[in-house]
Subunit: 193 residues, 2 copies
DNA sequence: CGTCTATTTGAATGTACTCAAAAGCGGTGG
DNA sequence: CCACCGCTTTTGAGTACATTCAAATAGACG
């Protein structure tokens, strides 16, 4: 069950057998049913979460119209944590909710700090995955301005086919920053016949 | 000259006197004149850069119309590096250019790695500032969808008054993802008389 | 099969863009 | 010292991309 996480870590830092055991012991399994919340806005994000299997959405609730604005999706082998809230142990502005049954690995804040103390080279791992994620966020900001809705949609389909498969269309629309109706029109327009 | 960087580091990790000396020796000063490039798209970002004094813009060149899309501004005490390009030592899609005379501290990729080896607790520092930056990027993505151009502009003025002061209006417009003309109309509309 | 939710379609509207031109502003040289 | 040049900002007119609201249709699930 913890193999996917170990595998992910080993891409960037080498743990010896003993470290691997220590590492594993810090993480606990959790299952979310469809619709369950991992985090609600206003709460503090107490755990860092790694998705083994399933699908989650992280979103902001627009206070003017109550609509969800998708920040990101998380499926197998991705992280699903409000990093700022987790790191500062301060209230989050986001919600994280299961879109289907989801299996997670979790570590609480104090354990996370303790784990880094015991295995300092993990600092490196977390720094690197942050750097990667950060690069993709920057790209997303720029692309949102450079490309129109249609281009962004097809770009999304290309880059995240597995996510596009699992998610309802209206959530993909929200992720892309467009209305569900407009995404529907984009699809109709591009139908083969 | 290196005090601002030391000060920034000390917010998150404590360096003893010896470490501080080692740390300082890794960084070299550099001055850019107005218009000088720190990085051009297609090049690899060879250095991590900390701004002592000045102003830089990081931007993507829209291949369809040649226009600059501002990714971020960097003024005193900020970082100005394409992190993804620097970390992977791979070609960058961005440009970084001085808007005015700018003093930097720089460290080359190999030295950066060596520095982390010699002072491992710096891993922690870089992880934390990445987390902070990441939080602000996420907020920017969500806010771009939730708020209209006018709200985003006034939000920008509130949060980055020093940046707003230094930057020409058309670059702020680009940062906000709107046209220079439209930002001008927003300002006119909100003039007191 | 019926109900609930998601998607599609239509019509009217709005926010922001483009192109073009004028006005403003700052620096430089005659 | 002021006139001119280049760049930024403003203004105008026409347009486009995307939204909203409403209603119809299609899909999923018990």
């Amino acid at each position: 069950m913890k193999e996917p996480l170990i595998k992910s870590v080993s891409k960037y830092v080498k743990l010896d057998t003993e470290e691997e055991i220590i590492f594993k012991n810090f993480w606990t399994e959790k299952t979310l049913e469809k619709g369950d919340y991992l985090l609600r806005n206003g709460e503090t994000c107490r755990t860092d979460n790694f998705v083994i299997r399933g699908a989650l959405k992280a979103f902001y609730i627009n206070s003017e119209n109550g609509k969800e604005e998708i920040l990101y999706f998380a499926i197998d082998q991705w992280w699903a944590t409000d990093i700022e809230s987790f790191q500062k142990q301060s209230p989050s502005m986001y919600n994280i909710q299961a879109i289907e049954k989801t299996e997670l690995l979790q570590i609480r804040y104090d354990s996370f700090q303790e784990m880094l103390k015991q295995i300092p080279k993990l600092e490196r791992f977390f720094r690197i995955i942050l750097e990667n994620y950060l690069g993709s966020l920057q790209k997303r900001i720029v692309f949102n301005n450079v490309f129109d809705a249609e281009q962004r949609y097809f770009d999304f389909l290309e880059n995240y086919p597995e996510v596009a498969d699992k998610m309802p269309q209206y959530l993909i629309a929200s992720y892309l920053g467009i209305s569900a109706e407009f995404l529907s029109r984009i699809r109709t327009k591009n139908k083969p016949y």
